[in-house]
């Protein structure tokens, strides 16, 4: 909405936003970030989707409309001159460990956990692991419209507890989320989705990612600090701060995801192609893919030595995890669920001649939901009048979704079989999978190849050896 407001103002047209009470803080914070510190807002007092018609009409007549008229007549205010931003190498705080933590916590520059103080020497050590210029801009991140520079990636990487040798991966992660296709700006939307970093390639082993038992737990330094880095970066550079009155409006939200690393030996050992090849890259590359996650399934245990018995509960639990939220995929024409399988499950399929494509097609063909369920659920979320057929009429989804007028007709939950991603990870000795559901067009999977510096081997040899697990 702020961008529509900005577009109107840039056209010289007086704009007024209509916003419910709980979103006033976010609107003002976003307005300030995009250069509109005095956004004109008419406030709806309450929660629109909860209020009945009588209350709603009264609030519009007695509260919103009078404010709208005031705001329309309001003169344009002068923007206050703000202090200049620090330069990258400026020292902004000196102190002991505790002083630094307090300084950063108070300004909402942390994720609530202690950070590694971003000193110049630590940042410079990170920068050795790239041949890129520290001032290079990887993208401009909304909502605060700040420049994601190579330097800013290093600073936040230090803070997150990453090792310097992770830096090429951090750069690829930021390149992915800075792609406008990823729509990072919507990470503050009410569903409260979190990004998930998926790493596929040789660097998984080189950098000691955990891709086996407990792969998605906090614990391994590579998986954990890279996952933490992205959340910190979103907070500090994109400006998505999860604190009341700030730009993040996740109603409950989720905690950050640790990075998911693919089990390369398992996937290639059974004759399947690795995830990076599914994403269009070479087997020799290491590739980072970032996607949103808005829902995670319970553990899906699947037994038996045939694909059919394995799919019995993979299919049903995958489907219930998508659930009625599937409507959002239809509204935006994007839906990219991810199935993470432990290698022993995948091997049953591979041994029986099944490919990932065949599993995808099975899920696409099997997962159906009544159109009326999604229409009703969207009403609960926010819609005034949406029907599945509307998305067909707009050309967002195929005509088969409106094949009949029966409101309870079953329609596919997945828009395209090829949009279902499959990654192998987890305990190789247990038969479990999980579904990770992305949030429609917010956080569609975006992949980037990891680019290593010319002196990679030499730098890696000079890196502090990782502590041996005892």
């Amino acid at each position: 909405m702020s961008r529509a407001y900005l577009a109107a103002e840039q056209a010289g047209v007086r704009a007024v936003a209509v916003t419910a009470t709980a979103f006033m803080g976010m609107q003002r914070a976003t307005g300030k970030a995009i250069g509109l510190p005095d956004l004109r807002i008419a406030e709806y007092p309450g929660v629109i989707t909860i209020d009945g018609e009588e209350t709603f009409d009264r609030n519009v007549r007695e509260r919103v409309f009078p404010e709208l008229m005031e705001r329309i007549r309001e003169p344009v205010k002068a923007a206050a001159k703000e202090a200049a931003d620090p330069q990258p190498r400026d020292i902004i705080c000196r102190g002991g460990f505790d002083d630094i933590q307090e300084h950063f916590h108070r300004r909402l520059w942390t994720d609530g956990l202690p950070i590694v103080p971003p000193t110049l020497d630590r940042v410079e050590r990170f920068l050795e692991f790239t041949d890129r210029d520290p001032g290079e801009v990887l993208g401009v991140l909304l909502p605060e419209m700040r420049e994601a520079t190579v330097w800013s990636v290093a600073v936040n990487g230090v803070m997150a507890g990453c090792r310097p040798e992770y830096f090429p991966i951090l750069l690829a992660v930021v390149e992915a989320v800075a792609d406008p296709e990823f729509r990072l700006l919507h990470a503050g939307a009410t569903p409260g989705w979190e990004p998930l970093v998926i790493v596929s390639g040789d660097l998984v082993r080189t950098l000691n990612f955990n891709y086996q038992a407990g792969a998605m737990r906090v614990g391994s330094q590579a998986n954990t600090s890279i996952g933490r880095f992205l959340r910190l970066f979103m907070r500090n550079v994109a400006g998505l701060r999860s604190f009341p009155g700030q730009t993040d409006k996740g109603t409950l939200g989720m905690t950050f995801n640790v990075a998911l690393a693919e089990n390369d030996e398992a996937v290639t050992g059974m004759g399947w192609q690795p995830f990076r090849v599914d994403r269009g890259f070479s087997k020799e590359d290491t590739v980072v893919t970032v996607q949103s996650v808005v829902a995670i399934s319970p553990p899906i245990y699947s037994g038996g030595d045939t694909p059919e018995t394995q799919l019995e509960f993979i299919t049903s639990i995958f489907g219930t995890t998508c659930g009625p939220w599937t409507f959002s995929g239809l509204v935006y024409g994007n839906w990219h669920p991810l199935l993470v399988m432990s290698p022993v499950v995948a091997k049953v399929f591979a041994d029986n001649g099944w490919t990932k494509d065949r599993i995808r097609q099975h899920l696409y063909d099997s997962l159906k939901i009544p159109a009326s369920t999604m229409e009703r659920y969207f009403w609960h979320v926010a819609a005034s009048r949406w029907k599945v057929k509307d998305a067909v009429d707009e050309g967002t989804i195929p005509a088969l979704y409106a094949a009949s007028d029966d409101p309870d007709r079953l329609v596919p939950m997945c828009l395209k079989a090829e949009w279902i991603n499959i990654v192998l990870a987890g305990d190789p000795g247990r038969n479990q999978s999980r579904a990770y559901i992305n949030n429609h067009e917010h956080g569609v999977p975006v992949s980037r190849r990891v680019v290593l510096p010319a002196r990679w081997k030499e730098l890696l040899a000079s890196a502090q050896p990782q502590a041996r697990i005892i």
Binding site: M1, A4, L6, A8, E9, Q10, A11, V13, R14, A15, V16, A17, V18, T19, A20, A22, F23, G35, Y44, V47, I48, T49, D57, V60, V64, F65, I72, P75, V76, A78, D85, P88, R89, D90, I91, C93, R94, G95, G96, F97, P117, P118, T119, L120, V140, M145, E147, A148, S152, V155, L232, N236, V237, V331, Y332, G333, A382, S384, W386, A391
Partner: protein, 109 residues
């Protein structure tokens, strides 16, 4: 107890100059608006009962300013839908085309 002093750098990054909307900064005076001869455009996220809200607003405005003109949300499309980027990019041109004086933009909630 802290025993070491640290000198640390800023974890944020500078604002992108290209995105700052200089045209809406304070300098540009606007003439007083006569709503009776004005055109009000309604832009909508196609949710949160905006259609009902705008009907009430239009009815009240028409009662007070009989010659007021409206541009309905369907002329613009959904500013929060699958074509959001294209719809928002077209807003300046659409507003000029319809000679709009005011844009009501809703609904966040």
């Amino acid at each position: 107890m802290s025993t070491h002093d640290f000198e640390v750098v800023w974890p944020l990054a500078r604002h992108a100059q290209a995105g700052v909307p200089t045209s809406v900064q304070p300098t540009r005076p606007r003439a007083a608006l006569d709503l009776n001869s004005a055109t009000v455009a309604f832009l909508w996220t196609y949710n949160r009962k905006g259609d009902r809200m705008y009907d009430i607003m239009k009815g009240t405005l028409r009662g007070e300013y009989p010659d007021i003109q409206f541009v309905d949300y369907d002329a613009f499309g959904n500013i929060h839908g699958a074509s959001e980027r294209e719809v928002v990019a077209a807003i300046p041109q659409m507003l000029k085309q319809h000679k709009a004086d005011v844009a009501v933009i809703g609904v966040a909630g």
